[in-house]
Symmetry: C2
Amino acid sequence: MLGPDSACCAPMVREPLGEEAAAELSRMFKALSDPVRLRLLSLIASHEGGEACVCDLIGPFEVSQPTISHHLKVLRETGLVGSERRGTWVYYWVLPAALEKLSALLRTPTVPAQAGA
Amino acid sequence: MLGPDSACCAPMVREPLGEEAAAELSRMFKALSDPVRLRLLSLIASHEGGEACVCDLIGPFEVSQPTISHHLKVLRETGLVGSERRGTWVYYWVLPAALEKLSALLRTPTVPAQAGA
DNA sequence: GAGCTGCATCGACGTCTGTCGATACAGCCG
DNA sequence: CGGCTGTATCGACAGACGTCGATGCAGCTC
């Protein structure tokens, strides 16, 4: 889904983002812009074995199961997680390349000493 | 606006995000979830001297000046950029600590060899 | 002070998004 | 096969979001 030439990886503080790259990256950030999705992602990533069954992901939240399923779909379609059905259960895992891509983009080339600012 | 104990900095793949941290971080990602804002941010960051006048930020886009102003407000209120009026013009600059915070959050602890996956 | 330019705010509008309950589908078990 | 559990999809609805034109405010210039 994400073409190899689609965007980025250099910090965005180096040179302005093109329209296409910005459009694609903004879609990924949008996927992270919901607190439930953010927690889902960290829950999956930090889960034992690097993957989690949906059944493990419903309990921690106060939203309905369809809502969780919807959020997982968003994360999946954005390329942030992968999923696979194994018998009764469906497992999700994080795709680290996507996270790393965003992380690199936001990385500031010179670490600022402005922590106190 | 961002309390020192408010969140994060450790990769989210290490341990699940708490509700509060997720809420705050999702607000920052939401600020990055719009292509115009993303381009604004990179435009500001990559501008000569590390700061840019609003007058430099209107030309590259096809949206109206009020819309640019609105997006800059979002970036400002999220703590991603700072701003200051100098005479006639208003200058914006990136606050690297905020970017670095998000970058660290998304960083994957062990670099995955799954680039080909 | 009058007029001009740069930027922010306001109010309105259409669209997108998160949420739900209801329902459909997939696989296991007895 | 019938029923049960786990997950996804559907349709609907309220609220949030991006955008605009109009307007307001600040500071410069003459």
